[in-house]
């Protein structure tokens, strides 16, 4: 089995999930194993390896999180805040991928420790460009930090 980078997509809008998955497919990013989580609490369970996500073979620890801000239960910013408080997990790179261009959202995300902030573009090709760039930069060029995962 070829080693794949696990990317955790935390996104509640099924349309967006579909479009993003299509964009990844279109961009031909076969090195990526995408895990989709649809609410904040589930995202924290996944990262903790708790609840439904204890099996790391099925649910491997991600190298990158694509995090939407507006989520059911815990919001994206809450998930981010929680993550940066975890001694073992706090270095995990997080890219905010959202439709909000509000300054307050952007600033708060960076304040809480987001590594990048991207606005969901309009149009298919633009989205393909975005995911291509993410792959290029964060998975291929970027040196990933060591994140300890006991479980």
């Amino acid at each position: 089995m070829i080693h794949k980078h696990t990317v955790l997509l935390v996104e509640d809008d099924p349309n967006d999930i579909l479009l993003i998955q299509r964009a990844f497919r279109k961009a031909n990013l076969t090195n990526i194993n995408m895990q989709v989580i649809q609410d904040g609490d589930a995202a924290i369970d996944y990262l903790n390896g708790a609840g439904d996500y204890t099996d790391r073979d099925h649910y491997p620890f991600p190298v990158l999180i694509l995090l939407d801000l507006k989520l059911p239960r815990r919001s994206g910013l809450e998930v981010l805040g929680w993550l940066r408080q975890q001694p073992e997990l706090r270095r995990l790179p997080v890219i905010i991928l959202t439709s909000s261009q509000e300054n307050t959202d952007v600033n708060r995300a960076y304040d809480l420790g987001a590594n990048s902030y991207l606005v969901k573009p309009l149009g298919l090709n633009a989205l393909v460009d975005v995911v291509t760039t993410i792959n290029m930069y964060w998975l291929l060029l970027n040196e990933s930090p060591k994140v300890s995962t006991n479980n």
Partner: protein, 601 residues
């Protein structure tokens, strides 16, 4: 002044004394003169008497000789007369020279000689008569008679000499006395004149001084009068002020006791003078405040300071009203209190009004708080709404556009031209909606954002705006210098971008847009003018175009959201500036914005 009148008195005193002395001395001198005169005449009298006596003796001898020669008795007549007179004459002489011992002695010596002579004369006469001429002549021939007569003559001569000496001496005394008297008189008179002159001078001096002092006094009086008038006016003013501003005037002695009539107080409280007397006035203050008032006032009496308080006082109709009380100690020249003057001003209405105002203020504040809260809520809702637009509305939009594009890309071979056209329309509509949402969000952000104004280089901003338009930059001409303005850079970039995109958008089909950008200084303002060669705007529309969603043209001829100029106006207004347009239909338009110049700050 007192000194002067003293000097004058002394002068006059000395003059009078001198006059008296002069008079006394003169009287003395004249008395002396008279005395001397009397003595001289006395001496003359003595001499006369001496000669008269001697002549009488000679008369007697002459008579004797005549008889002796003739024997005729008629010749005895002078003899008889002389005999009869001689004794009296000697007595007279004795009397006259009573004050002169030497003459008295001489007279005493003379008397026997006279007696001898008279005896000789009598004897010879008797002999002539009885024995005849010869017997008598014999006796005469003895020269006895002549010797006696010589003795008498000698004695008389001695006496006369004495008297003459006296006479001479007295004449001399007299002369000296007269001279002295004259001299004394002259000197005294002269001294008097001098003194009188001095006194006159002093009086004149005094008069002058008195006149000057009188003038000064008049001046002082005038001044006093003026001051008195001023004081009276001031007092009247003060009094009317006090009467006008307060309900009652109140007077006490230094110990705070009412002693004088205080009618205003009595009218106010309904007390009788008797009741108010002493500290009786205090009983009208509400009981709860009485001790405090007494304490405060006693303290003020001890310190001689003004006593101010607010007191609840029972007035004539039995109600209690609130008074502002101010008691002022009136001090005398030594800083001691001579009386207390108090004013009672009814402040019940004022206090009520203050309380009302306070209550109103509280209500108002409460309402402001409520309104602010409501506004904050509304604002939060608006923000939530904007957030929701930004996030939730755009999600389905993205989906619409994304899947329509996916259809076109992934299933184009299953769609005929009409199907493709429909899918394409979905894509463009979604694009327009996205544009609209972006503009609305920009407008909304502009409304809420805090804009810090900084020194902003206008030329940089204009160039950046031209770049953002991503169009042919040759359409834009910058004319002249563009000064710096006070602005929020990003907002200004957005504003100018909108203005420029407007300028190149609204042109007649086929016309190459030409936009001129210039600036002019208007006082403290910098006006940036964007002049186009476009289709122009009717004057009735010139205000409308700056409102949100206002469009003058169909979406087909000139696409747009109708928010661009609203953003221009909102952005400029948020930066404290103005916007405007000068245009006519079919003519070019000149849009302008005004911002504060950097120089005038």
């Amino acid at each position: 002044m007192r000194e002067l009148s003293k000097q004058i008195s002394i002068g006059i005193g000395i003059a009078v004394v001198l006059l008296v002395v002069n008079a006394v001395v003169s009287y003395g001198s004249i008395s002396q003169l008279i005395q001397n005169e009397r003595l001289v005449s006395h001496t003359h009298q003595v001499i006369g008497e001496l000669e008269s006596m001697f002549s009488t003796m000679k008369d007697a001898e002459t008579g004797q000789r005549g008889y002796l020669l003739t024997g005729e008795p008629q010749y005895l007549e002078p003899y008889q007369t002389a005999i009869a007179q001689i004794k009296a004459k000697v007595t007279t002489l004795q009397n006259l020279t009573a004050d002169n011992q030497r003459q008295q002695k001489r007279i005493a010596d003379l008397q026997p000689l006279i007696a001898q002579k008279l005896a000789e004369l009598e004897e010879t006469i008797k002999l002539r008569r009885e024995e005849g001429f010869a017997a008598a002549v014999a006796i005469v021939r003895t020269d006895q008679g002549k010797k006696i007569m010589d003795g008498i003559r000698q004695q008389v001569a001695v006496m006369e000499r004495e008297e003459n000496q006296l006479l001479q001496q007295r004449a001399e005394d007299c002369e000296v006395g007269a001279k002295n008297a004259l001299l004394t008189f002259c000197i005294a008179t002269l001294a008097d004149f001098l003194l009188l002159g001095l006194v006159y001078y002093l009086i004149r001096q005094g008069q002058f001084k008195r006149v000057t002092e009188l003038e000064k006094e008049n001046q002082l009086l005038h001044q006093l009068e003026t001051e008195k008038n001023y004081l009276q006016r001031s007092e009247a003013r003060y009094r009317s002020l006090v009467i006008a501003s307060s309900q009652a005037l109140w007077l006490t002695n230094p110990k705070g006791e009412v002693v004088e009539e205080i009618p205003a107080w009595l009218t106010l409280t309904g007390q009788t003078q008797q009741e108010a007397q002493g500290w009786g006035w205090l009983s009208k203050t509400i009981e709860a405040e009485r001790d405090g008032v007494a304490k405060g006032f006693l303290q003020a009496i001890a310190n001689k300071t003004i006593y101010e308080s607010e007191q609840t006082v029972e007035v004539a109709d039995g109600t209690y009203r609130l008074f502002a009380v101010k008691s002022v100690p009136i001090l005398d020249g030594n800083g001691e209190i001579c009386e207390w003057m108090g004013t009672y001003t009814d402040i019940t209405a004022r206090k009520q009004a203050e309380a009302d105002i306070r209550q109103l203020n509280e209500k108002l504040e409460q309402r402001v708080i409520e309104r602010t809260q409501q506004l904050e809520e509304a604002n939060e809702e608006l923000e939530a709404f904007a957030y929701s637009i930004a996030h939730d509305l755009r999600a389905p939009l993205r989906a619409m556009q994304g899947f329509a594009e996916a259809l076109l890309e992934d299933y184009s071979n299953c769609l005929d031209e009409v199907g493709k056209e429909y899918a394409y329309r979905i894509v463009t509509s979604a694009g327009r909606l996205e544009e609209l949402i972006q503009d609305l969000l920009a407008y909304s952000r502009l409304t809420r954002a805090e804009l810090n104004l900084r020194n902003t280089n206008l030329i940089n901003v204009v160039e950046e705006a031209i770049n953002q338009l991503q169009t042919d930059s040759l359409q834009f001409t910058i004319k002249g210098a563009l000064p710096s303005v006070m602005a929020h850079r990003n907002t200004l970039v957005q504003v100018i971008t909108n203005l420029l995109s407007n300028a190149i958008k609204f042109v007649t089909v086929g016309v190459q847009p030409q936009v001129t950008i210039s600036a002019e200084l208007r006082g403290e303002w910098v006006r940036l003018i964007v002049a186009d060669n476009g289709i122009g705007i009717a004057s009735e529309h010139q205000q409308r175009i700056f409102r949100v969603f206002e469009r003058l043209h169909g979406i087909e001829s000139y696409p747009g959201t109708g928010i661009g100029l609203a953003i221009v106006r909102k952005g400029i207004e948020r930066m404290g500036g103005h916007v405007g347009v000068e245009s006519q239909v079919g003519q070019a338009s000149r849009f302008w914005i005004e911002l504060k110049s950097v120089e005038n700050r």
